[in-house]
Symmetry: C2
Subunit: 146 residues, 2 copies
DNA sequence: TATATATTCTATCGAATTAGTAGTTTATTT
DNA sequence: AAATAAACTACTAATTCGATAGAATATATA
């Protein structure tokens, strides 16, 4: 499940994507426009900033803006920062791999094989969808064998 | 993230799949073989039984077995019972749809469009992978447009 | 330099979820 | 009746989620 945090974060990022090049946006405005609890949004934007996706400026005339163009920021990046790895289980994560405590033979683990496919499919979609092209459905899943 | 509950449940189901046709399996044996806390496993098996995936018998000579052949049970079914809908957000779930509280225009919601793709990709994999064919990689994700 | 503005930081909090455990009850076989 | 094994009920500790509160810091401008 996508957390509210990630959902709010994505909303904010899309909003900032639409405003890209038009100067900084205030947290307050963003919160009101997108119906996000302001204080919660503060933390979210800060986290996205610390991970290099946002630029901010304090004081009058300040606010938040994307640190690069919307085409260069993917939904996958945002989700990973706010919700952690896309992988359903740590042992199939490419960005945060961790061996299963119990599992002795990773090669033969059925669960791992399936979840690997799920991870790959999800990552393929989320990592190739930027804040610009988001609305387009650019992927499909095709049956191969059997 | 796949919960431990679902992970244990899948392990148990694969185990029962391998023992299909060889008589009932004891919770105790299953718990020990697969390194699952016995009491926790009890609850899991009960839930899978109540949802029609397992058959059980009390008393001596009793135990658990699949209620149908392993080919007929998919990983998706097991995960949905134990962890709920596959969809990352309720508004893209086919089995447990729920409108987003805030969202006024579902058609134009970017997040929804992306998560719909993720759901479809995940469901395609999990719903077409049975307890038998689990180890095979039968799907791939192909880029379409752009 | 004082003031207003806006982000940043630290801390806390209630509710829900997760991952179990304990103990009792019921059904079944011998 | 005794042994066996699942079924049921009820907790609980620890963590995560979704926030909120208030103070600190940086920046612009008058």
């Amino acid at each position: 499940m996508l957390s509210k945090k990630a959902k709010y974060g994505l909303k904010a990022m899309f909003y900032l994507g639409k405003h890209f090049g038009k100067g900084p946006v205030l947290i307050s405005d963003l919160a009101e426009e997108e119906n996000i609890p302001k204080k919660f949004l503060e933390l979210i934007l800060l986290e996205l900033k610390k991970n290099g996706l946002l630029y901010s400026k304090m004081g009058k005339g300040g606010g938040y803006s994307l640190s690069k163009s919307p085409e260069e920021i993917t939904v996958g990046q945002v989700v990973r920062i706010l919700d952690g790895p896309l992988a359903p289980i740590p042992c199939v994560s490419k960005t945060a791999y961790m061996k299963c405590a119990e599992c002795d033979n990773e090669k033969t683990c059925e669960i791992r094989k399936i979840m690997m496919q799920v991870r790959d499919a999800s990552a393929a979609i989320l990592d190739h969808t930027s804040l610009m092209e988001a609305p387009k459905a650019i992927f499909s899943v095709n049956r191969k064998s059997k």
